[in-house]
Symmetry: C2
Subunit: 429 residues, 2 copies
């Protein structure tokens, strides 16, 4: 008997998923055992790129998650509510769930997975991170035999597109953002992307899988790319770096007691595998013992890529339903209930890039060095090349330093009479 899907949402991803499932020749044969039984939409009259018979389409989303005939609920509406409530109702009704909703999972994952474990159903979310890139399943299964030490990735296509264009064209952020909005690569309200919030949702999810504990979304430090300027991109290039918005989750110490989860623009060495990931592509680098470094690369968004990920979760569930399992498969279920303790950003140990504008060239480098030295900040390089009007521009890259110490030094430097301003502070990988 066919497995019956109740799909919530028929936007870009929903339409792509329906297209993939309807046009199933040449794909995995199990997809032929699927029936698109109900599709919940907001408007019945909106023209659609897919053909669905009238009894399949409904505006009553509650009815779908409460329909005893539905085996799998596929939540593709996005947003927090009513998505969260519909997912929880579906679980309570014993239905498996597939979702692409990183915002809901990163905020309400604890509630959702607790409910799923109690109900003996699975909630799969391959499409929530990295578009079509298989990353959630590898982290839950293949790579989970490793002790993961770091997950870092370019997980937001919009910001990577903007940074790539700023880099190649030497343009400023505002200009590229406006153009990206015109071309459809950025939303009219770009906040979630450019302020790093979307990337924050995604790295929270990856961290929970890789480090085997729930993550409080509020513990994830998020900085976006609004403050990245073409001047900094040019200096970074001179120093051998490219600037990327990275989501990073990593153990800070040898005994794995400190976990840092954060999003910020980062100076990435040219030779690093993430440095050459350009445009709307995503890539996730996973470091573990004994595997070393593995990188998964692909399209981070788009109807087709996301539909591929959604359908792969559906495929997994269909296979499970076909095997009549007596007990839940521990590789599909969520395996942790505890919350991870996240180290505050002030305890992060990292290298920094900082750019200063100074009124007084003679002696200022010495004063910077002395002040940094007082806080235990040692400098890897100091560059003074440019001028902005009458102000001398000084760029420093530090060695590894505790962020709290560095910030204290910066506050003192900010107050120096010879310092006009500190336009940029960025972390270095």
């Amino acid at each position: 008997m066919a497995v019956k899907l109740g799909i919530l949402g028929l936007g870009t991803v929903g339409t792509g998923t329906v297209q993939l499932l309807q046009d199933n020749v040449g794909r995995h044969p199990l997809l032929q055992d699927i029936e698109i039984y109900r599709v919940g939409v907001r408007s019945l009259t909106k023209p659609r790129a897919v053909e669905l018979s009238p009894e399949v389409i409904t505006t009553d989303l509650e009815a779908i998650v409460n329909d005893p005939a539905v085996d799998i609920v596929v939540e593709l509406m996005g947003g927090l509510e009513p998505a969260r409530t519909l997912i929880l109702t579906a679980i309570k009704n014993g239905k498996h769930v597939v979702t692409a909703n990183k915002a809901v999972i990163s905020r309400f994952g604890g509630e959702i997975f607790t409910a799923a474990n109690q109900a003996g159903v699975y909630v799969l979310l391959e499409a929530a991170v990295g578009g079509g890139i298989p990353v959630i399943q590898p982290l839950k299964q293949s790579l989970s035999v490793n002790r993961i030490s770091a997950i870092m990735g370019i997980v937001n296509g919009t910001t990577n597109y903007i940074l790539t264009r700023m880099q190649t064209e030497g343009s400023e952020f505002d200009h590229v953002l406006a153009d990206a909005q015109k071309l459809g690569y950025a939303e009219a309200d770009p906040t979630a992307d450019v302020d790093g919030l979307d990337a924050g949702d995604k790295i929270a999810i990856l961290a929970s899988l890789g480090f085997d504990g729930r993550i409080n979304r509020e513990d994830v430090h998020c900085e976006g790319i609004r403050q990245v300027t073409k001047t900094d991109i040019a200096y970074a290039a001179k120093l051998g770096f490219v600037i990327k918005l990275l989501g990073i989750a990593q153990h800070l110490d040898e005994d794995n007691s400190q976990l840092s989860v954060r999003v910020h623009p980062t100076l990435v060495p040219h030779s690093h595998p993430l440095a050459s990931i350009n445009g709307v592509y995503n890539a996730i680098l996973i470091e573990g013992e004994p595997i070393g470094q593995v990188m998964l690369f692909g399209p981070g968004a788009g109807a087709g890529a996301t539909a591929s990920a959604v359908s792969s979760d559906i495929l997994n569930l269909v296979a499970t339903l076909k095997t009549n399992t007596a007990k839940p498969n521990p590789l599909l279920a969520c395996r942790h209930q505890n919350y991870s303790e996240i180290t505050p950003i002030s305890e992060l140990v990292t290298r920094f890039y900082a750019r200063f504008l100074s009124k007084d060239q003679a002696g200022v480098i010495g004063r910077l060095g002395t002040c940094f030295g007082n806080y235990g900040v040692s400098l890897e390089s100091v560059v003074q090349t440019g001028f902005q009007g009458e102000l001398a521009e000084i760029v420093v890259v530090t060695h590894n330093v505790r962020e709290g110490d560095f910030r204290q030094a910066l506050a003192e430097i900010q107050a120096m009479e010879s310092i006009d301003s500190i336009p940029s502070v960025l972390r270095v990988l």
Copy 2:
């Protein structure tokens, strides 16, 4: 009750796997339900890097695959026999099998998977291709909702190491090979690696999974890197390419009736994702509809990376054994019985790079062009820069051409009086 492993072979990979499984804290908790019950070795007296109690180690490998207590046989001995027979016996006895043996699977996969399907057991082989990179499971599961159009990869670390060093140092093949042998990056008998046979095994396996049909190993056209010279690497660089040994499996036509599976040194454009994969790293690029391009990158060999892949298969089987499945999981079982028809290399349509040494400069380019034109070969670029003694060196890159036509033209050119020799013919991606 613990799942009992019978491990065949305690070389590099076997030792790495035992180390991972013994040191299981901080890895997936299911690994704690595993007992290393028997390990088959050739010599009981050889010193080992792992501690195993004397009753675990045995030289009687037959006894392991016939022992009713063994749940999973992990074949890590390599070579064709007795590996093949031991795997088949284990299957006949109802045991699941994990293997890292690309040579056995690419040659006897048909026999092995037919037996496994009949016995209702699984044969998993994540470690057979790409070392630690999760690629077999994604191809069988996540990515299988796509229509795969091409799989291409750098799947042999030794040759990629050699080509990378030839590229960066401007050295010749023989010199780098000798050094690689000294450093342990190449075997004393390097044939399987440098002649493309190992890569041939691996692309045959990837092709069978991606294109859903068995592959006759003899149908895979294999060329190695012995004929790649520093001269060609330098010309390729000038033309915007880097030379990589690629395993390629792709549909040649729109209606997917022609499948080409082959290994050869290939000129890869600098901008291509595979161009920047250097040293012993592996990477596999998968193209499908609707996902687009996905690339999986990581360490292609080494005890730790391979142990990670072997252990991930063991983990999958332990999870399956724990769920008491009534029917086999179609995502773990082999799903095809038929053999794919492979298009002969002469029918391949590709671009070519060829280097000619000519005695007579005046007019020779014209004669080359005329001859190529007679066979429908059109030229994308013609470069005449170098001299080798009295001979002029001419390099051409063709547009897409049927390989058979190109070879006929080459044979005619070879016979021209003004042509001294054709030292290099390479395909271009």
